[in-house]
Symmetry: D2
Subunit: 356 residues, 4 copies
């Protein structure tokens, strides 16, 4: 358990923030699939900090090396292993963290769990660095989903106290997805206030949280299973495997609790093409754990990056004394921008057991 996911296609992610390599084994992609690696690189690049304002100074280009599973550019039915080197590593930054756990990081429970043997450098296996192979896997699988007409994109719905313009969840379509995927800062409304919110946090040596909203179009009706393999169970399970995620909601989510059933229910109608649709989409395209044919929509809550430049109170695990810690190292003031392809990948990975 832990870092292996999936039933029909299995993903096994390995590595630590500062291990020699990180990577993923995908067991097994259908044979005869020729990934478009240029597009995949572009997808993965959205996760990296390279060329992004307001992101960590640690820059990794993350070009994966594929050492198995491919022959002449196509999959061959054998597990595909992709390796990513950790090049830009400065491990000395993290020495003191062996005894001084960073607040709101995994340091302290990981130390107890592993009896002090965990890799403390950069958070080890708990680092967001591990989202690199996650996004590689998600981006790869997304190309297979696209062949079946399924598309995925996301927007920044909130940063700190700034909320994006509402959209009609019953009318999410390919045009909107294209628009979001092309924007360098994908919001419906003006991105400036969001960027300003991040800049202010950064200027204060602080960080700020965000909500990412993800859209999936083109799902056939009836995908998913009741109970333990509901679409929501599978997607949430993967979303919470992303560091810093603390909440998820489908469709109107928590806002549904405040509604009456007569308002919350999505009435059926026949659209101009003769298809059965719902007028509203407050359920986010899922009923009874199954896809309804409407756009699948979910939002993921990211807490503010726990690594901040301000002094914080912690406890020395050795001396059992309280101490003040100022986290050094290179960190994002907000995960929003880099989180987009990670959330999209969670959706893709969750769906592939149902569709591939």
């Amino acid at each position: 358990m832990s870092s292996t996911f999936g039933q029909n296609i299995k993903f096994s992610i390995f590595g630590q923030s500062h291990s020699e390599k990180i990577g993923v084994v995908i067991d097994t992609l259908p044979a005869g699939f020729s990934p478009d690696f240029e597009r995949l690189s572009a997808f993965c690049a959205r996760r990296t900090a390279v060329g992004k304002e307001g992101t960590t100074a640690r820059k990794e280009t993350d070009t994966p090396e594929i050492v198995s599973g491919l022959v002449d550019g196509h999959t061959c039915g054998a597990p595909l292993c992709a390796l990513i080197a950790n090049r830009d590593v400065r491990s000395s930054d993290y020495e003191e963290l062996k005894v001084l756990p960073r607040p709101s990081h995994a340091d302290y429970p990981a130390s107890v769990k592993h009896g002090g043997f965990q890799d403390v450098r950069g958070g080890g296996h708990f680092s967001a660095r591990l989202t690199a192979p996650f996004v590689f896997a998600g981006g790869l699988v997304m190309q297979l989903l696209e062949e079946k007409g399924v598309r995925i994109a996301s927007r920044i719905r909130r940063v700190g106290t700034v909320e994006d313009r509402p959209l009609d969840p019953a009318n999410v379509d390919g045009a909107l997805l294209d628009e979001l995927l092309q924007k360098p800062f994908p919001t419906i409304g003006d991105p400036a206030p969001f960027q300003e919110e991040i800049r202010k946090a950064q200027a204060d040596c602080d960080s700020v949280g965000a909500v990412i909203e993800c859209f999936v179009t083109g799902l056939p009706v009836g995908i998913g299973e009741p109970m333990f393999d509901s679409l929501e169970s599978r997607i949430s399970s993967l979303a919470f495997s992303i560091p810093a995620v603390k909440g998820i909601e489908f469709g109107a989510g928590f806002a549904l609790c405040e509604m009456r059933g007569s308002v919350a229910n999505d009435p059926y109608f026949i659209d101009e093409t003769g298809s059965i649709k719902t007028k509203t989409n407050r359920n986010g395209g899922i009923l009874g754990g199954l896809s309804t044919g409407m756009p699948l929509i979910f939002s993921v809550a990211f807490k503010p990056t726990p690594s901040i430049g301000l002094p914080q109170q912690t406890v020395n695990l050795k001396t059992k004394q309280e101490e003040t810690l100022t986290v050094r190292g290179r960190h994002d003031p907000c995960v929003a921008l880099r989180a987009l392809p990670i959330v999209e990948s969670a959706a893709a990975l969750a769906l592939c057991d149902f569709l591939l």
Copy 2:
């Protein structure tokens, strides 16, 4: 997949709303455990509608019959199978639902998924009736967790627009859990406004949503796994297997997105017993997917019961004409009260793979 859950202990839930029996196979409980069936019945009774105002007129006493796995009152290491009879069934209520899917129910996607062969009576396998064996399993496992010092309780945090009084998530303790478990309507503040909210919805032939907040105390530090088996992944996966759940958040959840890191982070200190604690508990007792030793707290958003007495628009699957549907049958105007032990069971079932 679908209705089987768990790695070391597996739960296989079966039945439909109107099948002869519903039940669960638990494979495998440790041998030599003598369940307290009186307490278990009391726990399951919290889920049933019997004696509750503002709940469905369908009354099932749900006394389970245990047909395997027990010898002389103790477990014997063989799978335990518990059967619950469906006695109070009026299937004629549901005939028209074969072609008229109820809005916001699983009817339509289930019909597509199963090619029209699904059991439409009462929602079949998608019915909340299936939470009876779910709660039986959860209550049973909870007794084993209690032997390890782990306790679980929950409160109604919100009904419609009424929100319960805030509490300090760093100070959730046994006394609070006792208090909640003893209250017939477990809120911190006055339950009257919540009950009024439900009554009003019922009077309007309508329904209303709710948020249930669940508390787990006594977890050792370091329980859980990174990534795909994070505590959040496991708990959310089970929470979304409950009908009508559309959101989940851990600790401060979505509210964290609006905070700065300097506010959201939980600073460490040494408490009077020499233990490492955090002053605040905005992360809800989980960091990096692992338990921190602080109370584990999560909230689950339930949409309003989709079955309402008001006319709704739907589509006749046979004639492909739009029609107006008035759902007959017996339904809760709000799931809040019956949902409490279901949410607690989700927590218990999620934890038992880590602790048993």
Copy 3:
């Protein structure tokens, strides 16, 4: 783990030899399948002792009660639960076995494993009685496999020192399967010497072992997976879940070890229909874990029934003294005849994840 099997379709078997009920949950059969219960009963009846010479005096008719998953005679996509009552139970037979483990039974290791809490009556969950739901599940699934052209039958290849006539493994076809399935004592040659071998053992209050050979026809080429989900891995895993099985071989099996490669290899040719076949079939229809299109053939070795009427030496677990035990109760002198549908069921259950 333990009594739950399968990936896409899961089987959860429960019960003990003398529990109130035994049974199986099948999660999930495709919806819209109408089992032929008359044929299924006939299949299950082959496993029961009713009307068979040389089998146990314990007679169970084993008519299963299906309490979920069926609507109007067809599957509905919900888990199917079948219950079988244990009626003909004489538990007093087994009292002394709490402290006197029967040689070559699970009694002693089960007692250690479960700390003495195991169900000793009739061997509890370790009893061959549990093959009743196993065969029910296998027979049900076999009807689905037949819809895809896959057929399964078996013969008694050996009883004690009596070996059946050889057959050509490259020429196993529907006619042979029909013949075997219709014979009350399915051997190629004269059944009399086998029956005599069993009668002699019975007359001596002793038992005798057997080899069952199983044949699967109609498998498409390329079914199975390399490595851990090879056809051999899956089939053997299920075969060894049958009590008293101590060996399995595919094709010529152990005899292959004595051959040269030039003899053992199966050369390819084009048959009269233009299909690729092998002239011989020493590999039993499997190469690299995948089906070759030739008949799949495997043999399973059953040890002699460990329950014999002769006095045996054992150890009193309480007094730690050696004692002599004479097993009472009702037992088969040879499993051969009843084992046939069990082995066929193992094949069916193993194949259904690949084909359904």
Copy 4:
């Protein structure tokens, strides 16, 4: 599925015979374990052809590079990934195999399964080359098992028509294991006739089969599960993931079928240390799927290496004409010697879910 194995510890094996790298991800070893890499190398070296008479001319030293999961020589609780480079690759040997499947290899069914997209070079993912990471994982886990007192060794029981001297399965102990592990050609009797059998096959451009018998000592009583996770199910499942294995038997195995119960049953007694033992061990240390405390013993049947230098008949998949094929490339005339650590690894991998 396919190349991922395990429940609590998961193994994901990747690579093809001629891919850039092969390897394994082990998710997750307990933290704080410091593998003895010198011993591990020696263990893996037993599998390689280097320095062995009568083995393939392809020589790989197989020093694995560990790129994650280790910090300062100890495990850190993160998945361990080991990479092995494929250096000595001559792919041109295999060009014609795209259309000319080698008899008794996976070539033909793999081609059908993967629509012609499989990696034909050296058998791709079906190659015995993939046993290198399998043995690495097995050898690593074996060191953890040894810390719990469990030891594993094996002997060559048969090569072609030459059978090793019998041994008493009730008296397999540490001394015997030491002896076998130190022998370059581990048989009880004189190795010369076995070596002669191999040499003769090689001289004839042919190959010959073998039986490997594996011994596990130090298992506590009661390890394993009934039914689907019986020790036999788990071990056989892994044994059949080894290329060329066509049979397995536990204890006396197939020979049990010829015995009477009065002979086959293992009677209990109290040994000089006061422990409960059996006088004989025909069940190979397993009853009811559980360990009995006696030495666990199983034998694995390997067919003759299918690659032989003699001309064989095959079918051209393109032209659908029969052709004669002479397999070039470098191959072992008998797998016996190299198979020993592979079989021992299968035992270790099967046991680790029960013991770690």
